[in-house]
């Protein structure tokens, strides 16, 4: 085992020396950055966060929609958005970035840089040579002396993985890498100033423009298979920021009875049709905490494939709660799609919390300690509501307040 490990470390990409023998004519054309799912056979993309990929069952399937409910100050949801786009750049996919608030070029300038294996491997080699030269002064292992001569293997987050990369938030993606990839933009104020306002079929003008733009890109670039002679297929990653906010011209965030109540839902319906017929995947961030009518959010959840809600502890009373002191917020997985199957893989745990460090955004299971305080047997009604909110952090907690049914 040890010899295999040393043999493996010296090869170029960290793979083992075993090679799978595949007959040449049956080799499938693979697209960079994807892998087939072991559960339902769909092609999976990485969402940019390996820990989120684990929660979603391996990754995001091609042709599906990932909807992220924003946290209150839009800090962590914009981070997930950037991770998704950065993963597309690193894997060589095409990007389509749409926003009503920021210029897409500015968004792309702020993408985090990936932690690449060869950079890390060079550091490892330097470390090794430094270690061997200082071997006399190094303290020898007393009990496990058999392992003394083996090279030190660092267990670090930058494990070689062509599917899913880790990103360093303190550095931005190099402009050369950005220019080498093809990307398309949609900035709403520019589009609205170009042509006059038109309203079609229950959607606001901004949504109509966006759908037309996406459809045009899919047809022109051949993501829907309209150019079969093109050998190298590629994926289109679509990112739409803050859909449903007031800057897109939609008023579902402002009033209880919006004028175009079906605007966002019609948009999602048409968008999902476009996604299913092309090699693309889409991430949308929605300010779900601002949408007044809860029925709209239910419909939006139904019309999307994967729905993840973020709740950050900044500014809330949970920030000072000692239970949550290691974490920055909670993640609620509201929906996982059932693709070609009757069930979806929902993980057993519903309490997931996330923590952001400079090089790692980790999603962990939240362990709540048992409640050993004196008042545990005589909990008042207020405490009951609070504790049920803590233990079952599903979307029911979002809808109801602290009131509690009394019989």
């Amino acid at each position: 085992m040890a010899a295999l490990a040393t043999g493996g470390a010296t090869s170029s990409d960290g793979a083992t020396s075993f090679q799978r023998k595949v007959p040449a004519n049956s080799r499938l054309a693979t697209i960079a950055g994807t892998r087939p799912s072991v559960r339902h056979g769909q092609l999976l993309l990485s969402s940019g966060l390996p820990s989120l990929d684990c929660v979603l069952g391996g990754g995001l399937a091609v042709g599906t929609l990932l909807l992220i409910g924003e946290d209150k100050y839009n800090i962590y949801s914009s981070l997930l958005f950037k991770y998704f786009l950065a993963e597309g750049i690193v894997c060589g996919h095409n990007l389509f970035v749409a926003s009503a608030k920021e210029d897409p070029a500015d968004i792309l300038k702020e993408l985090p840089a990936p932690i690449l294996d060869d950079v890390h491997k060079k550091q490892l080699d330097e470390e090794e040579s430094a270690v061997i030269s200082k071997q006399e002064s190094r303290e020898s292992m007393k009990i496990a002396w058999r392992y003394q001569n083996l090279p030190k293997m660092e267990v670090s987050p930058a494990v070689s993985a062509r599917f899913g990369h880790y990103y360093d938030l303190s550095k931005t993606l190099s402009p050369e890498l950005l220019q080498s990839r093809k990307w398309h933009r949609f900035f709403l104020p520019e589009e609205l100033s170009l042509q006059s306002e038109i309203k079609t079929c229950n959607m606001t003008c901004g949504y109509t423009r966006l759908l037309q733009s996406i459809q045009r890109i899919i047809c022109q670039e051949g993501f829907d298979g309209s150019y079969p002679q093109k050998k190298q297929k590629n994926i289109l990653r679509i990112g739409i920021q803050s859909l449903g906010s007031v800057l897109w011209g939609d008023d579902i965030c402002c009033t209880d009875n919006p004028e175009y109540i079906h605007s966002l839902t019609t948009f999602l319906y048409v968008l999902r049709g476009l996604l299913r017929m092309s090699l693309s995947a889409c991430i949308i961030t929605v300010p779900s905490h601002l949408i007044q009518n809860k029925a709209i959010m239910e419909r939006v959840t139904n019309l999307s494939d994967t729905v993840v809600g973020l709740e950050s502890f900044i500014g809330s009373e949970r920030e000072t709660n000692p239970l949550y002191k290691d974490y920055h917020g909670l993640i609620h997985v509201h929906q996982i799609p059932q693709l070609n199957s009757l069930i979806c893989d929902v993980s057993g745990t519903k309490d997931l919390a996330f923590r952001l460090k400079r090089k790692l955004f980790s999603i962990e299971r939240l362990h709540l300690p048992p409640d050993l305080s004196d008042t545990v047997s005589r909990s008042s009604k207020q405490d009951l509501a609070e504790s049920t909110k803590l233990l079952s952090s599903g979307c029911g907690a979002m809808a109801t307040g602290k009131k509690h049914l009394d019989f």
């Binding site: 009990i143 002396w145 001569n149 104020p189 800057l247 008023d251 402002c254 009033t255």
Partner: protein, 307 residues
């Protein structure tokens, strides 16, 4: 923190939200006065009170430099006289046209108040206008550093107020100071502030303040927090488990050194260890020394043939 905000620490949209109990227009005028004293050109779009009332209380040199757009006298243009600011004119183009009448350079826009506009214009279009004004002004050669608006929080539904907070870079809630404070330290009002910094950090603070004549700000400190001491913390303090035992679990220094010197079961001497480590790459060898009673016969190794 309020002093820094008034001195121009936050760019973009700054929202001052007041209530029925406490008005925020004096804080708005404080922002105006500080901005004029910094040398920026200040464009005031007034809708709620007449121009004379807005200019009252400022120092004469400050009042002279205000560029006032009058939206109060005749917002729907019924009198037919030009010169006033009509309510339809509040679009990106209209605002930038008015801004271009002033001097070139950095400009601050003051809206008194946003509530008046929200009740008369469609909300999404108004928010889009507010977000696009800096960009359009930059295209026209001006630089709009901040837009300070007054919002009456009681007039709007909660969802609309939350939406506006998500659009703003800094929000200041103005409220009356609690009774005890008001008599003791002459602090009339309490401001709760929220600021989004550029790096994504969110800062929240509360401060007492009062406004002196000439619209200068006097900030007092933060309110002291009176939280009851936490009873749970005392009971879970670290219990010294080794203190009440009848046997000794601690090590003195000499005992610790003696423990280190004890040879461990698999701890060979250095030479034997190195020879074993180096010879590991070779083939296995068996070393056998026959005893005196051993009789090795190659033809009959098991010694059971009847030969």
């Amino acid at each position: 923190m309020l002093g820094e905000l008034v001195a121009g620490a936050a760019g973009g949209l700054v929202l001052i939200q007041d209530t029925v109990d406490c008005e925020g227009r004096s804080l708005l005028k404080t922002f105006v006065a500080a901005s004029v004293r910094r040398g920026e050109s200040v464009h005031v779009f007034g809708f709620e009170i007449p121009e004379e009332e807005f200019r009252a209380g400022f120092d004469p040199d400050v009042a002279a430099q205000l560029l006032y757009q009058d939206g109060f006298t005749d917002p729907l243009c019924w009198n037919g006289k030009t010169g006033g600011f009509r309510v339809e004119e509040f679009s990106v183009l209209g605002v930038v046209t008015r801004l271009q009448r002033g001097p070139v350079g950095s400009a601050t826009i003051i809206l008194d108040s946003l509530s008046w506009l929200l009740l008369r214009r469609p909300v999404p279009a108004l928010c889009q206008t507010l977000a696009q004004i800096p960009r359009a002004a930059a295209n026209a050669g001006l630089r709009v550093t901040r837009i300070v608006v007054l919002l009456h929080g009681d007039l709007h539904p909660l969802g609309l107020v939350d939406t506006l907070h998500s659009l703003a870079r800094a929000v200041v809630w103005v409220g009356p100071a609690p009774e005890g404070m008001r008599s003791k330290e002459d602090a009339h009002q309490l401001a709760s502030m929220l600021q989004r910094k550029g790096s994504g950090k969110v800062v929240k603070k509360e401060e007492y303040f009062s406004i002196l004549t000439g619209f200068t700000l006097k900030a007092f400190g933060e309110p002291t927090r009176n939280t009851p001491p936490d009873e749970d913390a005392d009971s879970h303090s670290a219990v010294d488990t080794a203190a009440y035992l009848t046997f000794n679990l601690q090590l003195s220094d000499t005992e610790r050194q003696a423990r280190d010197r004890v040879p461990l079961p698999f701890h060979f001497s250095a030479q034997k260890k190195s020879s074993l480590l180096e010879a590991s790459a070779g083939t296995g060898k068996i070393y056998y020394e026959p005893d005196a009673t051993d009789d090795l016969d190659e033809e009959d190794p098991d010694d059971d043939l009847d030969v």
